[in-house]
Point group: C2
Chain length 448, copies 2
């Protein structure tokens, strides 16, 4: 995969590090977000598999290198740099939380330790791959939470931010708890269950709705789901009921879904089709699903598209990637409102709170201490996979297990005023003070 999938400044910096003889200094960068996204009490980590795939396949072709050589920003760069790019592979270490792990503000959930030039170039891809899937997995998790056991399916392929984003949204939705996706490529690539029967155009393409439904039943048998609102939902339900079994059920896609689902349920039951399911679609999200659940609407499954695949109410996650160590030296940033904590870290998860500590600390492992789990685990060492990455299905199970253990207030759709508690270890705070003071001295010395 091409190393050009990055911001140009990563490459100008890479050139600069090369020219300054710093390209092979060991750098540690951490990926985290400073604040939870709007309307979110937790975020589910997702996208690690795609980030790792990128690192394992990172390279530059001759054509790409020629392109860089021609850019105005590279006119003073020596040929040695382009030779270095030609041979560049990712040879570093990555530590990360498994996909599906709930994460909170300021918790590093991926750490890269690699030669500076490599660690710098990969920043943009890692942020985009992980930030997006984490947003969608989180959105899915919220919808699944309020669906209360009813199936949720990703239908967002067409509204995702590009076709490829749709494929990845299908994967992330599944990790967040959806039972599958409408995206065929997602199913093909990642072995995720795919769903879908027919659209309005199917019904329109036959002379009558009844003929369209009969043809669909011939085709799909007990997987048949009739879309019944092309002309009139209630008439559509009667037409479906008249055809009898086999069928899976019907789909409602417009109108007042609470009232319509009740009427349609009655029509199906009256025809003896008590096992036939009702699926609802049409610009759904967790808030509407919550209302349907509260109203006791007889809806068995939800297809969620636009709002899920774009995380529409909270479409951005401010993931950042910050240098915390370089060549054995701790570094930090002290910009107004954008400070970072120095040094590689570990995150320990206790029963109902987390502690961010220095990487060499071990919390919750002494006798008599409350138990804690170290969340960051080695994924790549020396550029090689430590073990095969968990499948999307395993990540989905991890998410389900972890979300179940979160406090109810954190699992709420709304701001309950009760944030998940995240502390910093004493050792980490002491390190911050030390680096901050030294930085002040440094600048002072320089100003003299």
């Amino acid at each position: 995969m091409t190393g050009l999938l990055t911001d140009l400044y990563q490459l100008t910096m890479a050139a600069g590090y090369f020219e300054a003889g710093k390209a092979s200094e060991t750098a540690t960068f951490e990926l985290f977000f400073r604040r939870l996204p709007r309307y979110r009490n937790y975020v589910l980590a997702a996208g690690l598999a795609q980030a790792i795939e990128f690192l394992l396949n990172l390279k530059f072709t001759s054509e790409e290198i020629d392109y860089l050589r021609g850019l105005p920003q590279f006119q003073r760069v020596s040929e040695g740099f382009f030779d270095a790019l030609r041979c560049l592979r990712f040879t570093g270490d990555v530590f990360a939380m498994p996909e599906g792990t709930p994460i909170f503000a300021n918790e590093p959930f991926l750490t890269v330790r690699a030669p500076l030039i490599e660690a710098q170039i990969v920043e943009t891809y890692l942020l985009a791959a992980i930030g997006f899937q984490s947003l969608v997995a989180t959105k899915a998790s919220r919808i699944v939470e309020v669906a209360g056991g009813r199936a949720v399916v990703d239908f967002g392929a067409r509204r995702a931010h590009s076709p490829e984003a749709g494929v990845l949204a299908g994967r992330a939705s599944y990790i967040g708890g959806c039972i599958g996706t409408s995206n065929t490529e997602t199913g093909f690539r990642y072995g995720i269950p795919v769903f879908g029967t027919a659209a309005h155009s199917w019904v329109q393409s036959f002379a009558t709705e009844s003929e369209a439904f009969a043809r669909l039943q011939d085709l799909l048998g007990d997987a048949t789901a009739y879309l019944i609102d092309t002309y009139d939902t209630i008439e559509g339900a009667r037409t479906a009921a008249a055809l009898g079994p086999p069928l899976w059920g019907v789909r409602l896609d417009s109108g007042n879904l609470v009232e319509l689902s009740r009427e349609v349920r009655r029509i199906l039951d009256d025809a003896g089709l008590t096992n036939a399911k009702i699926m609802a679609t049409s610009d759904l999200n967790e808030y509407k699903v919550l209302e349907f659940a509260a109203a006791g609407a007889p809806i068995d499954a939800f297809g969620v598209g636009t709002d899920l695949a774009t995380s529409a109410d909270s479409p951005t996650l401010g993931v950042v990637y910050k240098l915390v160590e370089l060549d054995g030296r701790f570094t930090a940033k002290f910009s107004e409102d954008k400070q970072t904590l120095p040094g590689a870290k570990q995150v320990f998860r206790f029963a109902n709170h987390d502690v961010i500590a220095c990487s060499w600390e071990c919390l919750g492992c002494g006798p008599g201490e409350p138990e804690a789990k170290a969340l960051l685990r080695p994924v790549l060492l020396g550029g090689k996979l430590c073990e095969p990455l968990p499948t999307a299905a395993a990540a989905r199970q991890n998410a389900a297990d972890c979300v179940k253990r979160l406090p109810t207030a954190v699992r709420s759709l709304f701001d309950t005023g009760q944030d998940y508690r995240v502390e910093q270890s004493h050792e980490l705070m002491a390190l911050y003070e030390k680096v901050h003071d030294e930085s002040g001295l440094l600048r002072h010395r320089h100003a003299d």
Copy 2:
């Protein structure tokens, strides 16, 4: 490009059309949106080039066909369908508005006329490719509008919804009026100017900020832009000023950008660096740029990332793709709140309003009539390109020319209560009534 980049139901319908002997019936689908996105008075069409690239390269590999054959939804499908998929290419016609054209609610801006099976399968890709780039081009256009001649650059690669979305966001931003992007792959693929110098990690990686700046100047010469807020913006500005020329300027990335830009301007001017530019970044969008402009802040260029690449305040565009003709018959959908108009159409743009008409109408071309332009033009005929597609640069010029001609109220960032006027021709309204009545008769006949 794989035909699996679609919702599964497109493929089950394709199978059903095949089994029903309808696969080669000529279908016409139109792409449009029913309502403008939230907070938008117009949308710029973008993404056509990627949609067409998909159509020109559409195919299914044997491995992909085997995958479909194994799905539960395809167990009743005959082998002839899979043979048909193996040979499937896009052989139809596409009419579209050129990229960069402003569009409004209910205006078809892309029309597909093709054998039903082909036209159905491509829906999902077209919607995702075009919807997303249109959102971003529109967002860029709004930012550029209020930037009033100051340069705007896309810096959103890391926050786009996947790395590939970032590449396309860079393209769409350029069409919308940005001068370029930080995304190197966007530059490589589409010949769009790329920008970037260095990040905080660059400054942190040297013992002093001064050393970091000097190294950058050696590397970039008069393209040097110092990021001056790693430790303290004002001290950073002094350090930059002390180095003197050559430089392009400095970048501010935190704090009160209005006040800081004034102080930094003074420091640069006092050092005789009156040509040095100030760029501002840090979660910008059109609303903040408007405030900076109103405050007269001495900012020469804006780098806009997250909000641009995700169209954050309005991240979804409800583009739909609706069957309007099949096998010489007009079709429409009469679902509650989701009606469609039958028949292939043309959109005519007059001096200050548009008219949606039937495809065979010719408005504004008679003697003495006000002049009008037909916006939908042939792009593919029989699966072949009519002429090379305009470059991104040409699309950008088209957008600039068209936006300039929009009424001031429509170009406003805000809802002015004055929508752009879009009418329907008498002939189109008459056709709608006719098809609606016939549909009622049809359903009535069926119910008897």
